[in-house]
């Protein structure tokens, strides 16, 4: 097993563990914003798409990469915006419009 793979497995294992522990604490109240936030975060495929589209590895790579950049930026931009829009509507009683 190469060093890189081993390193990757460590990250995967620890991130899954942290994910379970942190997400278990998200109340059902916020499960929809949770899903839309993790969606935005998984828009991180943008990183892989950028590397593919911009590395000058030929026509096929550039085209597929550009489509991937487009698809993942929909998730990044849309995901964060809509999560915020949802969370804005969660208010305490009597807190009228001063939600922060």
């Amino acid at each position: 097993m190469s060093h890189q793979v081993e390193f990757g497995l460590w990250i995967f294992m620890l991130a899954t563990f942290i994910g379970f522990e942190v997400i278990r604490r998200v109340p059902p109240l916020l499960h929809t914003p949770l899903m839309s936030l993790t969606n935005a975060i998984s828009g991180i495929s943008l990183v892989g798409s950028i590397i593919l589209a911009g590395a000058g590895r030929g026509m096929m790579a550039t085209v597929l990469g550009a489509i991937a950049v487009c698809a993942s930026s929909i998730n990044v931009v849309g995901g964060f915006m809509i999560t915020d829009r949802m969370l804005k509507s969660f208010k305490r009683s009597g807190a009228g419009g001063e939600a922060r």
């Binding site: 890189q4 793979v5 990757g8 990250i11 995967f12 991130a15 899954t16 994910g19 997400i23 998200v26 109340p27 059902p28 109240l29 916020l30 499960h31 929809t32 914003p33 899903m35 993790t38 969606n39 975060i41 998984s42 828009g43 991180i44 495929s45 943008l46 990183v47 892989g48 950028i50 590397i51 593919l52 589209a53 911009g54 590395a55 000058g56 550039t62 597929l64 990469g65 489509i67 991937a68 950049v69 487009c70 698809a71 993942s72 930026s73 929909i74 998730n75 990044v76 931009v77 849309g78 964060f80 809509i82 829009r85 949802m86 969370l87 969660f90 208010k91 305490r92 009683s93 009597g94």
Partner: protein
């Protein structure tokens, strides 16, 4: 740009993502969480753009601009009721990006891939493409483009498993000989076909589970891509997304008393319940005026909303009603079953948008002990989640499913269009129970009538 700066930015991004999920554990810190996630994402993107390997920025910028515009438009104009559709659509986009990058990587490197990377990329493509079509079908079902009912025929499970098995064989072949890239189109077709077959098989009632599963798949395919191209931040974000989707599907299955396997390959969206004999017992029918009189003297009122309320756009009228009652000194709670909407937590978002304060939104376990001291429970648009048969009738398809114990309340008002049974086609005993009264009509109109009747009541002396 130096290698260590990139590593540092990726590290910062990881911290941002983890904090963002951590802060989502409470409504007061949740928006800070979104900021943390955005900062993390910005760090990762800036780091990547400045990465030494990038030589051509033209297509990246054009594609990113188009994508951002579409994303922003979707975020601004999508109504909250359509949230499940939007989420399904974004699972499809996320999986498409990961699958395309994986495909290109495999086609470019092909024979030079080591066994591990070839295997991971193969699985990544299979998972990615099946999530694309699966999510698109889910989107179609939620949007009403594809028939909502489960599409079932004999031998279907066997066929689906067969298709998946062929896909896995192709992945194995690619792992053994990564140079045979001509197998890749087959893999793509099989992935796309399985995704569609898998979700067509599933009925509307199981949507919350399916959406969560697809969420998990999209995340895992991202993580697999991270392994293949050796990018740690992709592995981390994909693992977080995968874990979140997995946990949510477990919660949804638990809320419906199903196993994960059962959720995907069978269940009451699919099995036609044996004849569902029409019950001929009489029900007690009431009027808005009568309910208003009950509400007049109530000290605790619990509202039990279901998807029917959202479908009728009645949440704003319901909020008007509860505001009126609150002013009269009545305590209000909303009892929300985990599968009340079409995706996890959907009902909470809809009610929050209608300005219901979040302290009034109660989870199943927190509200059930309150029903015995509840004077009036108003069930509006919910059906299976309040059916007492789930507690005591082992023959019922929903037996064992955790339900809201509405029948323990002193009076129960069920707002319903007609006596037709719910999603699962199961007769609901609650309608015939002694404390229950039926209030027939469109949820929005009925809520409006109740607002009208309650506002005519004399103001109690105790409330100001």
């Amino acid at each position: 740009m130096s290698e260590w700066l990139l590593s540092l930015l990726y590290l910062g991004a990881s911290i941002g993502f983890i904090l963002s999920l951590k802060w989502l554990s409470h409504p007061t810190t949740a928006r800070k969480g979104v900021r943390a996630g955005e900062l993390g994402m910005a760090a990762a993107i800036i780091g990547t753009l400045l990465h030494a390997g990038i030589v051509d920025y033209r297509w990246i910028l054009i594609a990113a601009f188009i994508g951002s515009a579409i994303g922003a438009a979707l975020a601004i104009y999508m109504p909250m009721t359509a949230m499940p559709q939007r989420i399904a659509l974004s699972h499809a986009f996320g999986a498409l990006a990961a699958a395309l990058v994986g495909t290109a990587e495999f086609l470019l490197v092909g024979g030079d891939l080591d066994t591990f990377t070839a295997g991971v990329l193969g699985l990544e493509m299979l998972l990615g493409y099946l999530t694309v079509t699966g999510s698109l079908i889910a989107f179609g079902k939620l949007q009403g483009i594809v028939r909502d009912k489960a599409w079932v025929f004999p031998g279907q499970n066997l066929m689906n498993i067969g298709v998946l098995a062929v896909g896995l064989v192709v992945v194995a072949a690619l792992t053994m000989s990564p140079a045979s890239t001509r197998l890749i189109p087959f893999l793509i077709v099989i992935g796309l076909a399985f995704g569609a077959l898998f979700v067509l098989r599933i009925g509307g009632a199981d949507m919350p589970t399916v959406i969560s599963m697809l969420n998990s798949f999209a995340g895992l395919s991202g993580a697999a891509l991270g392994f293949a191209i050796g990018n740690p931040i992709l592995i981390l974000a994909g693992a977080l997304d995968g874990a979140s989707g997995f946990l949510l599907s477990v919660f949804m299955c638990r809320a419906m008393n199903r196993s994960i396997v059962n959720g995907g390959f069978g269940g009451f969206g699919a099995t036609p319940t044996a004849g569902a004999a029409q019950d001929q017992r009489p029900v007690r029918i009431t009027s808005a005026e009568e309910v208003a009189m009950l509400l007049d003297t109530a000290s605790l009122v619990i509202i039990v909303p279901g998807y029917g309320m959202a479908a009728a756009q009645a949440q704003h009228k319901v909020r008007e009603l509860t505001t009126l009652l609150e002013k009269r000194g009545t305590e209000i709670r909303f009892a929300i079953h985990p599968v009340a909407g079409r995706m996890p937590g959907h009902m909470n978002v809809l009610l929050a948008e209608a300005n219901v304060p979040y302290e009034q939104l109660y989870d199943l376990d927190d509200v059930n002990p309150d029903f015995p001291r509840c004077d009036v429970a108003i069930v509006i648009g919910a059906n299976d989640v309040v059916n007492p048969a789930a507690r005591h009738d082992p023959d019922s398809p929903i037996y064992g499913m955790p339900i809201l114990d509405v029948d323990a309340a002193r009076s129960v008002v069920v707002v319903k269009r007609s006596m037709r049974s719910g999603f699962s086609g199961i007769e609901n005993e609650l309608f015939y129970a002694p404390p229950t009264m039926m209030l027939f009509g469109d949820a929005k109109e009925v809520a409006g009538d109740l607002v009208h009747e309650v506002s005519k009541l004399p103001v109690p002396v105790l409330a100001r």
